[in-house]
């Protein structure tokens, strides 16, 4: 589904991604772990199309298409979803509208008619109930005044509504208490499907107790240092990241 080859990128003139290679098949859940500042967030933002990040080399193909040639809105409509590490507050644009506009943009790209207003409302209400969210969220501004946990739930809610082909969740678990973490994990697990892939960027193994990954990658210094199965996550939790760097130097 996704094939990243030798991807390099600069942020404000600084070289952050230094040759990333990663392949994700349909139906797979991958976890990307790594220390602060290693470039994990940059990678998912580049994949989502963040424009102030400069691609300096490499290629990314998404379902056979050249992802890097697509503007961010086209990537989203093609089924790529980025769950933001820091969801943006947009006062004055309400949540229900954003959800509907996003869903309709995707439907339009797929040649479908706009969603029926009644159908949309019942869909949203069901998903919100599933995520343990109060209906009053719908009429509030996007993420406006939301707590950290509410913002992350809202990201997952958007994902559930949009049903992406590929979800990139950037530290969706950070700042969550254990109950919120379970709700978020429930949302992610409910989307696991043969035709859908999920990438979890995380610092901690904790999320992976609830969402079991097929593959775990360690990201350091702008590239993938080591890949393995879920046991790698446990090893990282026990030993930290330094041993990997040392192993690499040696």
């Amino acid at each position: 589904m996704l094939k990243i080859s030798q991807l390099r990128a600069n942020v404000v003139g600084r070289n952050i991604l230094k040759g990333v290679d990663l392949e994700i098949g349909a139906g797979e859940v991958h976890a990307i772990m790594g220390p602060n500042g290693s470039g994990k967030s940059t990678l998912v933002q580049v994949l989502a199309g963040r424009e102030d990040y400069e691609i300096t080399g490499g290629s990314v193909s998404f379902d056979g298409a050249d992802l890097l040639a697509m503007p961010p809105e086209e990537r989203a409509r093609a089924g790529l979803f980025l769950g933001f590490q820091y969801p943006v507050e947009i006062p004055g644009v309400n949540n229900a509208y954003l959800l509907k506009a996003a869903l309709n943009a995707k439907r339009k790209a797929a040649g479908l008619a706009e969603v029926d207003a009644y159908e949309f409302l019942s869909l949203i209400k069901a998903k919100m109930k599933f995520m343990g969210m109060d209906e009053s969220f719908l009429s509030r501004g996007v993420n406006e005044g939301f707590s950290g946990g509410e913002k992350k739930r809202n990201e997952i809610l958007q994902m559930l509504v949009l049903e992406p082909r590929l979800a990139l969740l950037d530290e969706t678990d950070s700042g969550l208490d254990i109950d919120a973490l379970k709700v978020v994990a429930k949302g992610v697990n409910s989307l696991r499907a043969a035709e859908r892939s999920i990438v979890l960027v995380t610092h901690y193994q904790r999320l992976l107790d609830y969402v079991e990954p097929d593959r775990v990658h360690v990201f350091a210094d702008g590239r993938i240092l080591k890949s393995g199965d879920k046991t790698l996550a446990h090893e990282l939790e026990a030993r930290g990241y330094d041993w990997l760097r040392e192993e690499r130097v040696a």
Partner: protein, 434 residues
Amino acid sequence: MSAARDKDAALRSFEAAWHARPGDGIAATRAEAMRRFLALGLPSPRDESWRHTNLRALAGRPFADAEPATPMRASWLAGICAAPIAIVNGRPLPAAPARTDDPALSIESLRASIDRDPASLAARLGSIGETESERWALLNRALFVDGLHVRVTGRVAAPLLIVHSAETARDDAAVHSRVIVDVAAGAQATIVEHHLGGDGHATLVNHTTQLHLAPGASAEHYRVFSSDAHTTHFDALEITQAADSRCRQFTIALGGALLRANLSGRLDAAGAEHDSYSLLVGHGARQVDCVNAIVHAASRTTSRQTARALAAGTSRVVFNSRVRVEAGTAGAQSNQSCRGLLLSPTAEIDTRPQLEILADDVKCAHGATTGRLDPNMLFYLLARGIDRAAAQTLLIYAFLDDLLTGMSIPGARHAIEEALIAELPGADLLRAYR
């Protein structure tokens, strides 16, 4: 010497118009205003309050009074009121306007008001808005041809819509008009003034509105400017408020080549509350210069000013607001929030909130920010698949949310949004959003 080279041609033409006017019952106050105006001359960039708006080109053009005209232009705000009152080239149409649907509302032409009781009207004219910096209001006192005198004596449910239009086929026409609104103790009304017209001619409109709220009165006042791109409009709005009165004022700038909109407010007694909202849209080469001055002259008075400026193309938007809290007052509260959004690299926004506090016990806050669309917000919307143009428009609209949601007449809000949307990209999406 040709008129084009006479740098004082405008001033001379105003003086000539003054001499040519037939006298009326308020000639003395008009003469006094004209003398002061001529002594001051036209404002120049040396005048602090005019440093962003250069009138040199206007000063060199002679003007002549716009003749009476008959066409009545349809206002896009007409839906809010069954019987709008039309004022064409400064004169009510018909000459004896009336609205009989509500006994708490009485309307007569200013001309009739002058003829009936010149002394009272003359006394009502000398106004707080006639400062040196707002000398167009002085010229208005000298030259206004007619207008309306509105008295509100009870609770008036339906909004009163006054449609001012400039209808002329000349390039040197000047329209001087005035509206006086007196809201009696405990009475309540919504007044909407819509200025439109121009027809491709370089018309000068010099309008003054005086609004007085007696104790316990409340009013919502709108002035909406949507003249064509050739019109120069000087608008002075004076609001005086007695004890426990409430005023909500909306200034909506959506048209004209140059609009100078002044608001002078005075809170004269305890419990008076004033909210003003300024939606200033710079489009094309338009210049919008909005100056608010609110005086807290009594204890326990409150003012809140919310300004949102948008500037596209090569437009320039200026918002100056000054709050003065007089000595000897206590418990005054004021808040000024000015935000500007630049939509093009060649547009300009200047905002300047100022506070002048001469009392001890006050709570005053102000803030001013100007910037471009937030790239993080934009990326968030794009990452959800929303069109770029639509996302930009949505953010512009969101920027104006505080102001639009403050309007309490749904019909007015809807019509103003429609007119606003027509000036923005991505109109279809915004229509779907509402």
